[in-house]
Amino acid sequence: MQTSFSPLSTPHLPRSILRSNSNLRSCAIRKEALGFHWLAELRNRESRRIRIVSRKPRTRNQAVISASASASASGVDNGSGAPTSFDYDLVIIGAGVGGHGAALHAVENGLKTAIVEGDVMGGTCVNRGCVPSKALLAVSGRMRELRDEHHMKALGLQVAAAGYDRQAVADHANNLASKIRGNLTNSLKALGVDILTGFGTIVGPQKVKYGKVGFSDNVITAKDIIIATGSVPFVPKGIEVDGKTVITSDHALKLEFVPDWIAIVGSGYIGLEFSDVYTALGSEVTFIEALDQLMPGFDPEIGKLAQRVLINPRKIDFHTGVFATKITPAKDGKPVIIELTDAKTKEPKDTLEVDAALIATGRAPFTKGLGLENINVETQRGFVPVDERMRVIDADGNLVPHLYCIGDANGKLMLAHAASAQGISVVEQLTGKDHVLNHLSIPAACFTHPEISMVGLTEPQAKEKAKREGFEISIAKTSFKANTKALAENEGEGLAKLIYRPDNGEILGVHIFGMHAADLIHEASNAIALGTRVQDIKFAVHAHPTLSEVLDELYKSAKVNSNASRPDSKPVAV
């Protein structure tokens, strides 16, 4: 249920935190701890915006011609040392969403590109993450609605008892994944990107070997290499995953069975989305969270409201401040046994007996076998160290020329669309245009019912930044209860929250909990990406009646000092 995130349930995998705190299991998305990492980067550099390019489909021939024209040379050089001529301008290792985004943009920019994939095309997002999870959530959303008698009655609808066919639901998810995988593969082929099958290994500077394990390897050379190998579910020590009763998101998405009672370890995005699916399908859920509160990655106010809507009224209970130190799969008629240990005192606290356990404690980078040792790069807890331009840093702290790493493998922000944005940023640099991605403008969403979305800083993060840099922040809030469209849908539960600077109108963060929040956030993320100020965007017109008016009201209710600068845009008569 990586939602739109690539695997990691966490918007940004806190490397600093991971190092200091072995508590990865908590899915501890401490944006607080991380946000400043980006901020630090941003303060020193003027962040350039991602150039928005239209991806014109080309014919294969055109693509090939332009690609080969730009390739520096051809011919394989198997000798040691950096080659002087290259098979490709760009080789991307890993055909997930990040690699795909990079490849498309590379072709757009005339680079001869190959993509190496050892598993299925599409990576985690398409096969084991965002995509199939959306299929399950689409089902759960409808089930929930149909079973909500009160809701139906309020709309005047009468529905007989709703039921579901597990296998058909599972098939829907699987079919969707196949379809998206096909689309993705075809789009690459159509553009003339060479798809090289096998696991890719870096054997030296600008040199990649690929091939199925045990078969003869092919070695190719590339002017530049992007590592985009993604991540796999992280399973803490002591937990035995059998794929049947103790599972990760990989298994859960196949929906092979719907347990009566499932414990979900980790209450981040993945856990939360699966709780939505499972409870809608009739399971009861117990959350196990290492931190003291559920949904630790969210703005506290949003988290509180979300808990009131997504947890409390549902068949869910939870244990916070505990580690699941040992989980034994069900066997010989015994249930799944989970041993809980107090996160602070390390004392055994409780034992749970459940029908299944889903491990949603975050994701670990998939960087083994990449051959990083051949180029003197050491991973940090598996992550490939990179600078703000995604350039790989070697063990001595120097940049490795022509080598980049994007997506979950670098751990900066483990979301599918972040990987893609990073890939585009790298390609921009390859074509001679310096580019630094503003991670604070990358939205994140959790596709529960209703949805949660966010961009930028949370309130505590903003407060801290304000304190450090000496400015004031203000908060504006609007409720979905005041929105006509939401009321028409009988979905008035929800809140939008804007964190901004009253002195200059800068938008620091926007958080939405409510119907279609994931779709609504982009108005705010675009504003942040483009540097639009509150005092400007409040004049933008929103269609009535739409949910987008929630944001309209939000901007309008913000109070920016009157002396804040207005843009120098001139009115244009049409």
């Binding site: 008698e149 009566d260 009861e284 859920v285 117990t286 249930p335 007996e353 409720s479 005041a482």
Partner: protein, 514 residues
């Protein structure tokens, strides 16, 4: 009005203050809060400029919970949104003035915050004394006090000795699943439900995997009690709300009704049989009248609301019709002070005394293999409440004197109305009484509540023309009772003997008032 307040505070000293407040809703004069320095009021905040009153969506904290400054206490719905209201101080939430679902004007006190744990009681006493000040919104009508007044059970109360509080684990009705283990394994929903319904999970037998308690077990535990007289309920509640039902609509069961349905089906697995008996009640009637008479001078005429039937549907006193020829409503409107008995108590007492002599009829069959002879005689009496049925239990009815039993009954009914019965007050019955006599029903049969051995359906006591032994025709007041029992543990001869004993006790009731 004050008498009810008095009555409850004096005779259920252990009742939670929340109960007292409810009951004391009719407290004479609203007194202003006397706020001590260390007890602070929590006011209804103004969440928007247009807000004049706010509705309490939910209390996040319960009375007695510790609060940290900045922690959310309550969710308030304003005209625009639901908002958390945070505490400005550390302390304990001592008393809640405005319950969930009710509204209060901006600035009015909705709760008290005590600084230390010791002050909670103090704050609660303030609450009790000031509860009259709380204005309930018209929508909700806060009918608790009204219910009290309408309480149909003819209650006799006395300022005499406090009821011997015989609470605790009684009989073997409580069936701890986890006596051996220290913990109860219950699913998340089962836990939630148990909390909502006030069921102690330790007393619930789990039917889930590995003996886990699941939601339906909790529902069953509740329904086991509420269902008692299954068939009778339906009869009784039908006429109750003739207008509340939308014709042509299909109304799904509530959780409780589903549980009732399930339990009814479950009861089909029990091989029951029925034995009826006609009992002459002239003597009992006279006894009741005598006791009534002694208190009639003290009877205070309560507010004589023309009450609707559903409020009235209490399976309690079955002589009302006869006693007060015009209307049994009238009788219910009297609150009886000092020494007095209720017919329900008389009947329960008589039944209990008969059960003493026939332990088999007080037994049950738990596992299909054995008799469970209950150590206590706990007579459950079915009471119809809004949208359902509950069976408050007169515990140790054989041992407690009739006056205490009467008061106890009154207390239980009040609690039932206020939905504040504790599990041990409605789950511990070993024998059930169900009475439809006040509707003029002369006989019916009841469905056996799961987990018990027998239930007795009591019909109306009516003047009947009978032939006497000396060959003459005479008038006697008679009622028919009909016992449904589990034939695995209770046999025909057992019931027959029990009914004979019961008839003897009722026909010569002097022992009842001992």
């Amino acid at each position: 009005m004050s008498h009810s307040h008095l009555l409850h505070t004096s005779f259920i000293p252990t009742a939670p203050p929340s109960l007292r407040r409810r009951l004391g809703g009719s407290a004479p004069t609203p007194r202003p809060h006397q706020i001590q320095s260390k007890i602070r009021e929590i006011f209804m905040p103004a969440l928007s400029s247009t807000m004049t009153e706010g509705k309490i969506v939910s209390w996040i904290k319960s009375e007695g919970d510790k609060l940290a400054k900045g922690e959310s206490v309550v969710v308030v719905e304003s005209d625009k949104a639901d908002m958390d209201v945070e505490s400005f101080y550390d302390g304990y939430l001592a008393a809640i003035f405005v319950d969930e679902g009710l509204s209060a004007a901006v600035g009015s006190t909705i709760a008290l915050l005590a600084e230390s744990e010791d002050e909670i009681a103090l704050a609660q006493s303030q609450k009790t004394s000031s509860s009259g000040a709380v204005s309930a919104p018209p929508a909700n009508n806060n009918d608790a006090p009204k219910v009290l007044d309408e309480m149909p059970s003819p209650v006799a109360t006395a300022a005499t000795p406090a009821v011997q509080a015989s609470v605790g684990i009684l009989g073997s009705s409580a069936h701890p699943a986890s006596e051996g283990g220290k913990r109860v394994v219950a699913s998340p929903y089962a836990k939630k439900l148990a909390k909502e319904l006030g069921v102690d999970l330790r007393g619930v037998v789990g039917s889930g995997p590995n003996g886990r308690v699941v939601a339906k077990d909790v529902e069953a535990a509740v329904a086991a009690v509420k269902v008692s007289s299954g068939g009778a309920t339906v009869v009784a509640s039908e006429p109750a709300k003739p207008s509340g039902v939308e014709l042509g609509s299909v109304v799904p069961f509530t959780t409780m009704q589903s549980a009732v349905s399930r339990n009814m089906l479950e009861s089909l697995a029990v091989p029951t049989f029925r034995v009826g008996y006609t009992i002459t009640t002239d003597a009992l009637d006279a006894l009741y009248k005598k006791n009534m008479k002694s208190v009639e001078q003290d009877i205070i005429l309560q507010l004589l609301y023309p009450m609707s039937l559903d409020r009235e549907m209490l399976f309690a006193p079955f002589f009302k019709l006869r006693l007060f020829n015009q209307s049994y409503y009238l009788q219910n409107s009297f609150q009886i002070k000092s020494k007095g008995v209720t017919m329900t108590a008389l009947l329960a007492k008589a039944t209990a005394l008969a059960l003493v002599k026939h332990p088999a009829v007080n037994s049950s069959c738990r596992d299909g293999k054995s008799f469970t002879y209950n150590s206590h005689i706990n007579v459950a009496v079915a009471v119809a409440i809004d949208g359902g049925l509950i069976t408050p239990v007169l515990q140790d009815a054989d041992k407690i004197d009739i006056y205490s039993l009467s008061r106890k009954w009154k207390e239980l009914v009040d609690k039932a109305r206020a939905k504040q019965l504790q599990p041990n007050e409605y789950t511990t019955g070993t024998f059930t009484l169900s009475n439809l006599g006040m509707f003029g029903v002369d006989r019916f049969d009841a469905i056996l509540p799961p987990g018990t051995g027998a239930i007795m359906a009591v019909g109306a006591s009516q003047p009947t023309v009978v032939g006497t032994k000396d060959g003459r025709i005479g008038m006697k007041t008679q009622m028919q009772v009909n016992v449904t029992a589990d034939h695995r543990v209770i046999y025909g001869a057992d019931l027959a003997a029990f009914l004979q004993t019961l008839a003897k006790i009722i026909e010569d009731p002097k022992d009842l008032t001992l």
